[in-house]
C-alpha cells in the first residue's frame, strides 16, 4: 500500500465516562483509499472512538491529525468542515422529514433571500439517489415510511453528496437484507477507488475480512492490535476480540523465549 501521509491519525486518544475508561490510549491511522475495520465486543469502545472523530464526543486527551495537520474537532460541524462524514448505526435521520430534508439537514441549500430551497434540494436528492439506489422514488414521504434499505440509502447519500474524504460507517449493514448488503459492499469498493478513507465498524468478522484492508481490534477501551487482513485468519481476529491477544504474537514471543 502507498504509505504517503495518512488521511487521519488518531494519537493516544483517551476518554472516560465517570470511572470507566471508554477509550484508553488508542492510536490508529487511516490512509487514502483504505478501509480500516474496527472490531470488538459491545462496549469495547469502537463507537466511542469514532464519535470522537465525528465530533459527537470530546476526548480527554490525545491528538487528531488530518493530512498531517493537527486539528481540533469540537462539534459535528467541525468534523464536516474537514470532510469527515458519518453514517451512524441509528442512521441519525429525522423520521418526520422527507429524504431531501434529511440529506441536507444542517446544510440546507438556500435561495438568494436565505430561504430554504426545497425544490432544488429535492432535485439534487433525485440525482444522487438515481446513482445510489435507482429504485428509490418516495422522495416526498417522511423517512419513517421507508424501508430499512431505503433509509440506509438516505444516510449514505448524505455522506456521499457532500464529498466526504473520510467516511465513518457504524454497522452500515446491520439492518439490511442480502441484496442491500451487497449494494453497500459495492459502494464501499467504489468509494475506496475514488480515494476516500473509510472507518468501518461491524460485528460480522467475515464481512470485515472481505471489505477491509486492515482491521483494528479493541477490547475494554484499549487497542488489542491492528493487522492487515491478509496476515491474519478469521480465527486470529476472533481470539483477539475474545482474549484480547493475537495468538500469532503469543506464539512468536513463546518461540523467542
Amino acid at each position: 500500500m502507498d504509505r504517503t501521509t495518512p488521511l487521519v491519525q488518531l494519537e493516544n486518544i483517551r476518554l472516560a465516562f465517570g470511572g470507566i475508561q471508554a477509550v484508553d490510549d488508542v492510536s490508529i491511522d487511516l490512509y487514502p483509499g483504505e478501509v480500516v475495520g474496527l472490531l470488538g465486543h459491545n462496549g469495547a469502545g469502537k463507537s466511542t472512538l469514532i464519535k470522537i472523530l465525528s465530533g459527537a464526543y470530546h476526548m480527554d486527551s490525545g491528538k487528531i491529525r488530518i493530512n498531517g495537520e493537527p486539528v481540533h474537532i469540537e462539534s459535528p460541524r467541525d468534523a464536516r468542515r474537514y470532510n469527515i462524514e458519518t453514517i451512524y448505526q441509528t442512521l441519525a435521520l429525522a423520521d418526520n422529514l422527507d429524504a431531501a430534508s434529511n440529506l441536507f439537514l444542517g446544510r440546507e441549500l438556500t435561495t438568494a433571500l436565505g430561504f430554504v430551497d426545497d425544490a432544488k434540494m429535492e432535485a439534487e436528492t433525485r440525482k444522487i439517489m438515481a446513482r445510489l439506489n435507482p429504485n428509490f422514488k418516495r422522495l416526498k414521504e417522511p423517512v419513517s415510511a421507508l424501508s430499512g434499505g431505503q433509509r440506509q440509502s438516505v444516510a449514505i447519500a448524505r455522506a456521499v453528496y457532500f464529498n466526504a474524504k473520510i467516511l465513518i460507517m457504524d454497522e452500515p449493514t446491520a439492518a439490511l437484507g442480502v441484496h442491500e448488503t451487497q449494494m453497500v459492499a459495492e459502494l464501499i469498493e467504489e468509494l475506496k477507488k475514488s480515494g476516500l478513507g473509510i472507518f468501518l465498524i461491524s460485528h460480522d468478522t467475515r464481512e470485515m475480512m472481505s471489505l477491509c484492508d486492515r482491521v483494528a481490534v479493541m477490547k475494554n477501551g484499549a487497542l488489542v492490535g491492528i493487522e492487515r487482513v491478509e496476515d491474519v485468519t478469521e480465527d486470529d481476529i476472533l481470539s483477539m476480540i475474545i482474549l484480547g491477544q493475537n495468538p500469532k504474537h503469543a506464539e512468536a514471543s513463546a518461540g523467542a523465549a
Partner: protein, 434 residues
C-alpha cells in the same frame, strides 16, 4: 437520470383529493368547524352566523391564536409552556405601567403622546422575549425540564405582574394602544377591501410561483383546473371574510360620537361597516411570518428536525440547546404581542388577565394537530384550533348552556380531538408501512 423512473405509477386515476393535493386533516377540521357553526346557528335561530357575532368571535380568538402559533414550535420540539398566560400578564403589566406611569410621569410624555404606544409595545416585547430567553436557557443549557421551568413560571410571572401593579387594575390605557384591541381599532370597509384584494393577489401569486418552481425542476404538477379551483377557493375565502366583517355596521349612536369627536355632525342616513380589526391584521401577520419561519427557513427546518429526532439533529451539527432558547424566545415575544391585544381589548390591565390561557393555547395547538410526541404541527392548524375552541365556548354561551357544562364540553372535545387524531395517524401509519 431517467425521468420515467420517477413518473407516478400508472394505476387507477388519482382521486379528487389527491389531484387537489390538499391536507385531508385540515379539510376534516374545517368540515367539523362548519358543521358546528351551522348547528349553533340553527339552535340560536340564526344569531350565531351574523356579521356581528363572527366579528366578535374573530377578535376574541386573536390573543389565544397568536400564542398558539408559538406553542406549535414549543410542542414540536418536545417541550411545553405552561407559563404563557402568566407571561402575558407580566408583559401586560409592564406595558400598563410604561404607558400610565413611566412615560407620562417620569419622562413627561403624557398618556396620549404619539410615541407612547410604540415605546410601550417595544417594552412589552423586550420583557416577553427576555422571559422567553430565560426559560429557554434554563431548559436548553441547564437541562431543567420545560414542564418544571414553566410550571414555576406560571406562578412566578403571574405574581411578578401583581407586584408591578400593586395588584391594581391599571387604566385607562393610551388611545392609540387601545386600537390593537379589536372593536376600537378597525380599518373600515375601503381599506379592508384593498387589503383583501392584495391578499387575494398574493394567494394567486404563491400558487403560480410554486407551480413554476415545480415545472422548472421537472416535478409533477397538478392539472391546471385544480390550480384554478384552489385559487378561486382561496380568493373567495379571503374576500368573503372581508365582506362579512364589512357587513357589521357601526351603530348609529357610536358613529354620531365619532363624528362629534371630530367636530362634525353625522350626515343623515350615513352608515359604515367596521371592516378588518387591527388585531386580526396582527394575527394574520403573525401567522404568515410564523408559517414562513416553519416552512422556508433553516430555523423552522431545525425545529421540526429536532422534534423528530433530537439526536439526529445534534449529530447533523444543529445546536439544539441554542435552538431551545430561540423557540422559547419566540414564544415569549408572542406572549407580549398577545398581551397588547388582550389588554387593549379590555381597555385596561387587570390582575387576572390571561388566566387559564395556557390551557386554551395548548388545547388550540393540540386540536390543530400538533403532536405532543414532537415533530408534527402546523401554524394554520393551531389558529383553526383556537377558532374552534372559541366558537364552541361562545356558541354554548349563546345557546344558554350552564358555565360548568361549557367547560366539561370543552375539556371533552379536547380529549376526543386527540383521540380521533391518534386513531387516524395509526391507520395512516399502517397503510404506509404496507
Amino acid at each position: 437520470m431517467s425521468d420515467t423512473a420517477y413518473a407516478a405509477p400508472k394505476t387507477a386515476p388519482p382521486s379528487l383529493m389527491k389531484t387537489l393535493d390538499l391536507d385531508t386533516r385540515l379539510l376534516g377540521m374545517i368540515g367539523a368547524f362548519v358543521v358546528m357553526c351551522v348547528a349553533f346557528d340553527l339552535v340560536t335561530d340564526g344569531r350565531f352566523l351574523t356579521p356581528r357575532n363572527i366579528f366578535n368571535l374573530t377578535i376574541q380568538t386573536v390573543s389565544v391564536a397568536i400564542m398558539a402559533t408559538g406553542m406549535v414550535f414549543v410542542i414540536v420540539t418536545r417541550h411545553i409552556d405552561l407559563s404563557v398566560g402568566s407571561v402575558l400578564a407580566t408583559c401586560s403589566a409592564v406595558m400598563a405601567m410604561v404607558q400610565t406611569a413611566v412615560l407620562p410621569d417620569w419622562l413627561g410624555l403624557g398618556l396620549n403622546h404619539p410615541f407612547t404606544w410604540v415605546i410601550t409595545i417595544l417594552a412589552g416585547l423586550a420583557a416577553g422575549t427576555a422571559i422567553g430567553i430565560f426559560h429557554g436557557m434554563l431548559i436548553g443549557y441547564l437541562a431543567v425540564p420545560a414542564f418544571i421551568v414553566t410550571l414555576g413560571g406560571l406562578l412566578v410571572w403571574r405574581n411578578v405582574a401583581w407586584y408591578l401593579t400593586n395588584g391594581q387594575t391599571v387604566g385607562p390605557l393610551d388611545s392609540t394602544f387601545m386600537q390593537f384591541g379589536g372593536i376600537n381599532g378597525t380599518l373600515g370597509p375601503q381599506m379592508s377591501w384593498i387589503l383583501g384584494g392584495l391578499a387575494s393577489l398574493a394567494a394567486i401569486l404563491i400558487i403560480v410561483q410554486s407551480r413554476r418552481s415545480k415545472v422548472r425542476h421537472g416535478f409533477p404538477v397538478k392539472p391546471m383546473w385544480a390550480e384554478v379551483v384552489l385559487g378561486m377557493v382561496a380568493t373567495g375565502a379571503i374576500l368573503g371574510f372581508v365582506a362579512v366583517l364589512n357587513a357589521y355596521e357601526v351603530p348609529t349612536a357610536r358613529l354620531r360620537r365619532m363624528f362629534e369627536a371630530r367636530g362634525e355632525t353625522l350626515p343623515e342616513g350615513f352608515t359604515t361597516g367596521y371592516g378588518l380589526p387591527i388585531s386580526v391584521l396582527v394575527l394574520i401577520v403573525v401567522a404568515v411570518v410564523m408559517t414562513v419561519v416553519a416552512k422556508r427557513t433553516r430555523l423552522g427546518r431545525y425545529i421540526f428536525a429536532t422534534g423528530g429526532n433530537p439526536d439526529a439533529a445534534a449529530l447533523s451539527g444543529i445546536n439544539t440547546r441554542l435552538l431551545t432558547v430561540k423557540v422559547f424566545a419566540i414564544m415569549g415575544a408572542l406572549c407580549a404581542i398577545s398581551a397588547v391585544v388582550a389588554s387593549a381589548r379590555l381597555a385596561n390591565h387587570s390582575n387576572d388577565i390571561g388566566t387559564l390561557d395556557e390551557l386554551r393555547v395548548i388545547a388550540a395547538a393540540v386540536i390543530g394537530g400538533t403532536a405532543l410526541a414532537g415533530g408534527v404541527g402546523t401554524i394554520y392548524g393551531a389558529i383553526l384550533g383556537a377558532l374552534i375552541m372559541q366558537s364552541l365556548q361562545s356558541g354554548m354561551a349563546m345557546v344558554g348552556v350552564d358555565a360548568p357544562l361549557q367547560n366539561i364540553v370543552v375539556g371533552t372535545v379536547l380529549v376526543a380531538a386527540v383521540l380521533i387524531d391518534v386513531q387516524l395517524r395509526k391507520s395512516g401509519w399502517r397503510q404506509r408501512s404496507r
